[in-house]
């Protein structure tokens, strides 16, 4: 059955914004995207990617303790471990059947008092789960009544899991509530710049217990470095740091963005509440978008000369390898996958598409969930305005089943040697003998936890150089047309005894 017969068609990414149903509409969503919706839940994402980045707070989680452990099972530990965060203390009200039926407000009150007594934090963020979201406990009422009895500042951010399973929606729901923790500036420093849209890392060099330099550069590091090299002051990485650090963020003159999806909700909320402007560029994978990001900030702060010098210095280090990459892949197809089963990574996929275009390739985005995409409208529009509105395989992706890349290649009429594969997450597509780094260039930059010293990720001109190097390396590695990877052998031919004459492999 062809992709068209399965209900798929190639459209510009921005078309999704026109055809996707409203997220809360129920049946239309089920028809648009049959099967389970999204992945993760509001609690996981907020706790794992937002709240745990604050250094001197604890969480009171109003729900069953199992939600605490479930979040720790992957998100909390994986993100926190890889990005150098301190251990998050989550105090659970351990909601049981009694509180579900009769209400858990009294228990919540007791636990807040005990948590303040035992942990002595400066900030307690109260999160809720499905059970406390449904039994209608008046959490804000409890907080209001108990605030006078505790030393910590109490702040409620609702996170019942069923409220949202799409990261784009989750960001809009929760990120502005962290802005609520910020205070009006006593004075605005005209040289100070915040980096907002910081995704997984904390972007804070000085931790609560000392200075810290990451073993592996993080995505935020180049942006922070650029701010400083322009002679400006890096003020705050949002979200991150201590409560005091976060609440003084509005003292900056401007916000610049690391990741658009994470940045815009914070930027909009800070603009509305404190009048802090933000600059639109983000997810700067490649030289050209990074140059735009630097110039935009430089113009805003009137440091154009410094910007010119900075760009020249940085570009000199990577221009040769970027030229080599262009030579290796010009005219090819960039197959960019949104993720084998999560269908997330919309912003990164678009960032990679923009980079592919910079190298002279034609990007095609596949396996990216249409609802996920539709729920990041400002991101899609930003890239489209920048001239990056690539072809996207729109379809039902029923039951979160990814489409095999070989079927997509057949549909596009291209062969292994015509494409470069950019996986978007874990579970890369591979089949030894058919589609493997041994015969198809694979550039691993999508999986955000796969951090290694010289690996390309994103952000900045040096990273563009690293990514270009990866493109060159992958192109050369694929020329062997044999000796498949272990990963590919798990799914395709397990052994071929040196025989590299499999029909599809000859396509190289």
């Amino acid at each position: 059955m062809s992709l068209e017969q399965k209900g798929f068609r190639w459209v510009p990414v921005s078309r999704v914004l026109e055809v996707a149903p409203k997220v809360s509409s129920g049946d239309p969503v089920d028809q648009f995207l049959p099967g389970p919706l999204g992945a993760w839940c509001l609690w996981y994402v907020v706790m794992g990617l937002m709240t745990q980045k604050l250094q001197d707070m604890i969480v009171v989680q109003h729900g069953p303790n199992g939600c605490n452990a479930a979040a720790r099972t992957f998100f909390l530990e994986h993100v926190g471990s890889s990005y150098g965060m301190g251990f998050p203390h989550i105090v659970s009200t351990d909601m049981a059947q009694g509180e579900v039926v009769l209400g858990g407000e009294e228990k919540l009150r007791t636990v807040i008092l005990q948590a303040d007594r035992d942990y002595k934090p400066s900030l307690i963020i109260v999160h809720t789960n499905c059970a406390s979201g449904l039994n209608m406990d008046d959490v804000q009422g409890v907080i209001n009544s108990v605030q006078g009895e505790v030393k910590a500042k109490l702040h409620f951010i609702p996170t019942p899991g069923f409220c949202s399973c799409y990261p784009g929606e989750q960001m809009h729901l929760a990120l502005p509530q962290f802005v609520e923790l910020m205070e009006p500036p006593k004075k605005v420093d005209p040289r100070a710049v915040n980096l907002i849209g910081v995704v997984k890392e904390v972007a804070v060099v000085r931790g609560k217990h000392g200075e810290w330099i990451p073993k592996i550069p993080q995505d935020s590091n180049p942006y922070v470095e650029y701010i400083r090299k322009l002679g400006l002051t890096f003020h705050r990485g949002v979200i991150g740091g201590t409560y005091d650090y976060l609440k003084t963020a509005p003292e900056a003159a401007v916000n610049v963005i690391q990741c658009n999806a994470w940045g815009y909700p914070v930027g909009d909320a800070m603009k509305k509440k404190f009048g802090t402007p933000y600059l639109k560029h983000g997810m700067c994978i490649g030289v050209e978008p990074t140059v735009k990001w630097i110039n935009d900030l430089a113009q805003f702060m009137h440091v154009e000369k410094e910007a010119g010098r900075l760009i020249d210095e940085e570009y000199a280090q990577v221009k040769d390898v970027v030229a080599k990459a262009k030579e290796a892949v010009k005219g090819k197809v960039a197959l960019i996958s949104g993720g084998r089963n999560t269908f997330n990574t919309v912003t990164r996929s678009l960032g990679l598409a923009r980079f592919a275009m910079e190298l002279g390739m034609t990007p095609y985005i596949v396996n990216m969930g249409p609802m996920h995409t539709a729920l990041k409208p400002e991101v899609v529009r930003y890239f489209a305005d920048e001239g990056c509105d690539p072809k996207y395989l729109l379809g039902p992706y029923a039951w979160q089943t990814a489409i095999d890349l070989q079927a997509i290649m057949d549909d596009l009429g291209v062969k292994n040697g015509d494409v470069v594969y950019f996986p978007g997450d874990v579970f890369n597509y591979a089949k030894a003998g058919e589609f493997d780094p041994g015969n198809t260039p694979r550039v691993d930059s999508g999986q955000s936890f796969g951090r290694v010293r010289n690996a390309p990720r994103s952000a900045g001109i040096k990273a563009a150089g690293a990514l270009a190097r990866a493109v060159v390396d992958a192109s050369r590695a694929a020329k062997r047309n044999s000796h498949w990877t272990m990963y590919g052998r798990m799914f395709g031919k397990s052994l071929d005894f040196g025989d590299s004459t499999a029909p599809k492999a000859q396509a190289q």
Binding site: A69, A70, V111, W399
Partner: protein, 478 residues
Amino acid sequence: MSLAVHEKARDYADKYNVCVLMGAAKAATGVPDTMVINHGVGGCRMAMEHLRSDNVPDGLFTPIISTAPDQASVIHGGGKKLAVTLEHAVEEAKKRKNPLKVMWILTSCATSMIGDDIVSAGKNIQDKYGIKVIPLDTPGFLGGEQKGHEKVYCALVDAFADKNVPKKPNAINLVGPHLIGSKFWPWDHQEMVRLLAAAGVDVNMTFAYKSPVEAYAKFGAAAANYNLSGEEFTEFAAVSAEHGVEMWGDDLVYPIGIANTEEWYLKIAGRFGDVEKAKATMKADMSRVQRRIRGDYNASWFLSDISGRHIGILGEAKYAASLARCMFYDFNCYPVVVGLGGETRAAIDAGRKILEPLREFCDIEIYEDPTFFEYGNALKKADVDFAIGSRYDLRLVRGLGIPHVSFGKNYFFNNYNFIPWPSFGITGMLTIMTELGKFYEEEIKHEFAGYRANSFIEPVGGPAAPSEGQAGKRCRKC
């Protein structure tokens, strides 16, 4: 010498303990040729899929298909989503190599609270397709994972156990391998089965790990259920009693290390098998281990190096207590802080009982079901050389500047124990020594920061100040 016990004095929880749904998912996906329908939100589904991954190595893959209700479903009811998902699951089942024998339906907090009728939904499918459907209400607010396992065990007995099977006095059922608390548990379970068989003990089946659905028919043939976890299974005990199967071995030490294995093996062989056969097996195993390490310079080096260290241990009560004894008896370490985790009083008491013989020989601060906060402070106060725990307390402990090695909890999540070798039994000592040896050498002794600070070649990016990758105390001006 003493055992000081710190009991719980708070109303909150701050520990790693997954919920009823996760327990049910682990157990249900341990039954071959079944399928789990998770009538719950996306987050629960991801946790289930991760946590059940322990069952997958060596080929037991049980699909989990989710309904993933959203706000609209919570308001309007998720029955329609469930019905559609069940039909889809039947289609998926047709693609499988083996016929589907059971379809489980599990609820999460949200779908349980809105009262979706999983029983009727299941019955419709059962009537229409002749597939056995077992619906279980498993919201997280019912408690910890032990209850989820128990619900699955009881359901399996209710659905399949035959009351008229002949008794075998040397047969036992193993109960709760997922709850052992060792990250090597699949191989530990395998090793226990091997040792039991070698001592003439017949392992009738394991609840619920790899035993086929048909095996549950002969549940009643066993003389006892050997409760691996130490948790109290009240309902399952009652159901078992109806089949003349008693619960046994709740506070039996795990066979971690040599001394513990001797105690475990002789007790269990004495009750259900042949003690002489057990002794012969242990002699053969010891001989194998001796051949491997006698004269091995690295073994002597490591065993001398680690001796006399003060350590902290956090884990499931029976596991932490047994490991503490192993570290004391086999490695001459002093387990000065032991955190005993558990969902029921029985598990904590089992752990305390296992530690009791150490009372005369060392000072141990025992923390009953501690919070991470309590455990961290206890380690700091006790000034331990290193701590053994799981991935879930790694950041806590290393954040205090204390070396940490993970032995506990489930396989999932970066444990990378690809070699299918146990940590239990006498031969399991080779696993423990391998894990501890590498850890001790690299994480305790080696001075990583010094390598860079004292490098002859200029490090990439210039000299690091403060030490790369570590929390320093210097300010930027320094």
